[in-house]
Amino acid sequence: MSHDAPAAAPSIDWSRTLKDAVITGLIATAILGPFIGLVTVQDMEHRLILQTRWPLFLALLAILVVGRLLLQIFVWGRPAKPKRAPLALPPSVERIAAPFFIGLLFVFPISVLFALGPQGSIKWIDNYGIQILIYIMLGWGLNIVVGLAGLLDLGYVAFYAVGAYSYALLAKTFGLSFWVLLPLAGILASFWGIILGFPVLRLRGDYLAIVTLAFGEIIRLILINWVDFTSGYAGISGIPRPTLFGIPFNASDNGFAATFGLEFSPIHRTIFLYYLILALALLTAFVTTKLRRLPIGRAWEALREDEIACRSLGINTTTTKLTAFATGAMFAGFAGSFFAARQGFISPESFTFMESANILAIVVLGGMGSLWGVVIAAVALVGGFELMREMDFLKLIFGTDFDPTQYRTLLFGAAMVGIMLWKPRGLISTREPTAFLKERKAVSGSLVTEGHG
């Protein structure tokens, strides 16, 4: 038998496909019709009345039929394609991508302000800009621990909390300024990073993850129960706001607006906070890229790959792990003190396991070790959640009591499953090598498989 016939162009059996869609529609109608289309409610006299929900029924029916049709045409109907190259920017694009992206971030608040005015722009700068940048920074910080050193940390939010409470308590008790406390919060957080690091030095993988998870919970429970110190669930309010080197952002005579001869507006502080977190996030990225080229950064990556090999090459794995925990925690501490200064109020509610999970999800979905991946994942997850608050048009389909934000976790899970199916190593799975002989070459993680034998 001959096997070398040319591969036929993929043709779609239309009659079969359409028949399949019709059958799907019939089955869906049979099931969804009674369950979704009809609903019984009690009226004032406690009589059951049959009501209909045809728009919702039709919407679900359409999703099922069209979804199945698309799957038939684009997924099941096609012969298996060779593996696509992973998402990797060519080096020339990558070189201009970073400055372009950073430039975009710098002009973002100004252009939004001009486009929408002080009232309309505050939401975009605060809810989108600052919020996303906080998560980018946290993602980049956690990336050092998880992405580079390969230490799975499920309690990262603890260091964020340490930074936030350090700033809040020290600023309120001693009246120290934000600029003094920012580095101090980082140092305290990295100190706690080392405290966590010591007991988990011998652990790896699942066991490490469980202990770090517990550590995150311990910090949160201390914050809740040590009421004298932290005021427990009530949280700390009236946290001093950061100043521009001593100039406060208020309506007073020596405030920012008066000093610069502007009309007072809360947008000034928002824009200042935006640039502050942008600077902190860029610092994180800058330090990470520099560290990767230093012996300690190389040791982190080698540690992620093979701990035993590291030791036999003379690398002290104890200090390597502790510096990874400390460095990652330091950036969480910075972000935490920024968070406290921005909110003016903190409570243990802000530092739940869900936060750790979100930050970890940003790192994993983005592609472990990839700074760009973290940016994309943070924009998608955090920005996506903010967008869901605004999808009021969905109420037209699903009824007035439909709240899209309630479906956040569901979509989040679906996104996770999707990424793990199609991009198991995250959105950006290329790893930029840090050592070169002559020319730079991106080495892909998913294009090539590992050799055996």
Partner: protein, 241 residues
């Protein structure tokens, strides 16, 4: 006779309660190639790992260049310029060949990478072709070359090799053993080689030890052991025993 470079005296190693090495004595002198042969599970790799401090010897004493290394942490032993190509090669799979080699020079903070690269490439030209490739994508033989090359990047005085021939084609094994012989002859590198491939190992080595069930049962020059009827029967002629 001069003081041996590496001296193992009465070493006993346990995994939990199970004894793996039952009092091993062994010497490696400077400039020698010494091989340790034996069947699966005889304790060859355990001895090699014990020299590197993981697992630790429960009793006995290991000295290297006059320094007691029995209780020294593994990374500090490596800093005495003993390099190891461990069992299973253990290269860094997601790092490039270049980065793997560079990690070999970690104890000197990557100071002399560029000079040493040429030396390593002269020995294993294949690695130069693969320089930008991820370690995990190399073939088995190339990975073994990389493991040895990485160990050499630390400018070792002594090289410990655990089964470099494992799973490789005979021609590749020959290339690797030739490289070891070359290093020993030109640089005076001391080599301790753990092998199951007794014939090749004994032909390469100046001296050899035979290990059975955690005990060294025989020792002699490579030629003596190759000629010994017991060794022939157990390890060379099809292994009917």
């Amino acid at each position: 006779m001069t003081e041996p470079l590496l001296a193992v005296r009465g070493v006993e190693t346990y995994y939990g309660n199970i004894i793996a090495l039952k009092g091993v004595d062994m010497d490696v002198h400077e400039g020698e190639i010494v091989t340790l042969i034996g069947a699966n599970g005889a304790g060859k790799s355990t001895l090699m790992m014990t020299i590197f401090g993981s697992p630790r010897a429960r009793t006995g004493r290991i000295t290297y260049a006059g320094v007691d290394i029995t209780k020294m942490p593994t990374h500090e032993i490596a800093r005495l310029r003993i390099a190891q190509s461990p069992e299973g090669r253990r290269i860094f799979p997601r790092m490039t060949v270049m980065e793997n080699l560079q990690m070999g020079a970690a104890i000197d903070d990557f100071a002399h990478v560029d000079e040493d690269l040429d030396k390593v490439f002269a020995l294993f030209p294949r690695l130069k072709e693969r320089i930008a490739q991820r370690g995990g994508t190399l073939s088995g033989g190339e990975q073994q070359m990389l493991a040895i090359a990485r160990a050499l990047m630390s400018r070792p005085k002594m090289l410990l090799l655990d089964e470099p021939s494992l799973g490789l084609a005979p021609l590749v094994v020959k290339g690797i053993f030739d490289a070891i012989r070359e290093l020993n002859r030109t640089e005076g590198l001391t080599v301790f080689l753990v092998e199951q491939n007794a014939f090749h190992a004994l032909k390469l080595a100046h001296r050899g030890y035979v290990m059975v069930n955690g005990v060294v049962t025989m020792s002699g020059t490579g030629r003596e052991l190759l000629a010994s009827p017991e060794v022939r029967a157990a390890y060379l002629e099809g292994g009917h025993h």
